[in-house]
């Protein structure tokens, strides 16, 4: 079975795709830190961040619809956090003197925007290159080796588990007239247990296969990453741009709104 639900656009060719994963990682996480460190209630800087991220998205050639769909999967949590903020913090009301854009609402909005932009940046990060290269980048940046091995194996076996899920679902559906009734929800439990048992068995066989090729606890890698000026410069420029917005937006906001 073919899968492309994790890194569907990683094969595209764009200036962002060509950047070394380490540079992309540093740029993405620096951008998230810069955006998240923005004080609550100031909306103007987010307009600039939005423009920069939009420009970046256009450069990657990844369809915005794909990014928005991914965001939708997590957005309920973000929306709950953003909406509940003005209602839960004392003094941060929703309506003030007939105006809706109170301090509380603005803070809620900034929470939403911070989470949304962080999410978009992470989606861009994972969609602009192969996952294994990203992991290699993480390893080069000092990620604990064991964590890297576990992540690589998890990524590899997500697809096999997905296959198992599809196979067992087809077997179930082929013998089920219509939807399974709530009273027969036990079937789903059995299916989950079966997938779990198969995964356990498979992990044993995989381990045998690793042993048969000399595995002794260390995962070797081919160490093929090379950083060039062409990787560092765009990533550095991106960070600098966001940092500039972060620094100059404070006096600008004060001048415009005070």
């Amino acid at each position: 079975m073919k899968h492309s639900f994790l890194d569907r656009y990683s094969d595209l060719d764009s200036p962002v795709h060509r950047i070394d994963p380490r540079a992309r990682l540093i740029a993405a996480f620096s951008a998230i830190v810069i955006i998240v460190s923005e004080p609550h209630g100031r909306l103007l800087p987010f307009a600039f961040y939005g423009i920069i991220i939009l420009f970046m998205t256009a450069m990657t050639r990844i369809p915005p619809g794909f990014i928005l769909k991914r965001c939708l999967a997590v957005s309920p949590f973000i929306i709950i956090a953003a909406v509940s903020y003005p209602l839960s913090v004392p003094g941060a009301g929703v309506v003030e003197n007939g105006y809706l854009l109170t301090e509380g609402v603005r803070s809620g909005l900034t929470i939403f925007l911070k989470a949304f932009f962080a999410l978009v940046l992470l989606i861009l990060l994972t969609s602009t290159g192969k996952f294994h290269r990203l992991l290699a980048g993480f390893r080069k940046l000092g990620m604990p080796r064991l964590l890297g091995v576990i992540s690589a194996l998890m990524y590899r076996y997500v697809f096999i588990l997905h296959d198992e899920l599809l196979r067992t679902s087809r077997a179930r559906d082929s013998r089920t007239p219509g939807a399974i009734r709530t009273s027969r929800v036990r079937v789903y439990g059995n299916q989950a247990a079966m997938i779990f048992i198969r995964s356990l068995e498979r992990s044993q066989v995989v381990y045998n296969s690793m042993l048969s090729r000399g595995f002794a606890g260390e995962f070797p890698d081919m160490d093929k990453l090379r950083v060039r000026a062409g990787d560092v410069l765009p990533a550095g420029f991106f960070i600098l741009l966001l940092l500039t917005v972060r620094i100059i937006s404070q006096p600008l906001t004060e001048r415009l709104f005070n």
């Binding site: 192969k130 690589a152 194996l153 995989v206 048969s212 090729r213 890698d221």
Partner: protein, 247 residues
Amino acid sequence: MACGIKIENLSFSYTAGNQVLKNVSLDIGPGEKLGIIGPSGAGKSTLLLHLNGILAGDGVVMIGDTKVEKRSLPDIRRQVGLVFQNPDDQLFNPTVEEDVAFGPLNFGYTRGEAATRVRQALGEMNLEGFENADSHHLSLGERKRVALATVLATSPGVIAFDEPFSSLDSVMVVQLLGIIGRLDATLVIVSQSLLPLASCCDRLAVLVGGEIRACGRKEEVLADEALMREGGVDMGFYREAFKKYLE
């Protein structure tokens, strides 16, 4: 370089009282191709796992002049390559290159040497240009060939195949037979696909209920229909089918 295999009185059980292998003895010469047939649950895969020390039963397994035991495992695993039935069990790295390089790097080859071996092994499998492909995006036939490349990359003297022909269409079976025919190693092939097995092996062994019932020239073994039926192969069916549809 191809090396011989000698198995003497090998017995093994996963759980007490349930012997999967019972006093198995086999002598396989260097460069020989031995096929093992037998019904499901006969202990064929279990026997293969003893060849490179993943399982250790009672008895003696010798690869060349080296006895399979705990202290000789690094040498044995370099000498014996296992090709598993399901390539997904063998391909656990994100890319084909990393999977094929896994063995050579574990056995102490430098990254440069490993890269050369990866290139050679993929070349032998007609998989040039697949280095950066994701293993899970390949077709079954390609995954099977990559799985074999992971073993060839360490140049083992013995290659043990577990059901290599299962789930392959006949065109892919012919391709695989061509590859097997070119291998310069001692081969032990466990399979229930009689025709491809018989066409690539010099000798056949029949394993039933953990015991070797017969081992000899393939013509002799195939001629004993009662023995073949015991080994899970109905020769009459093949003969009838051939007469009815192909002759």
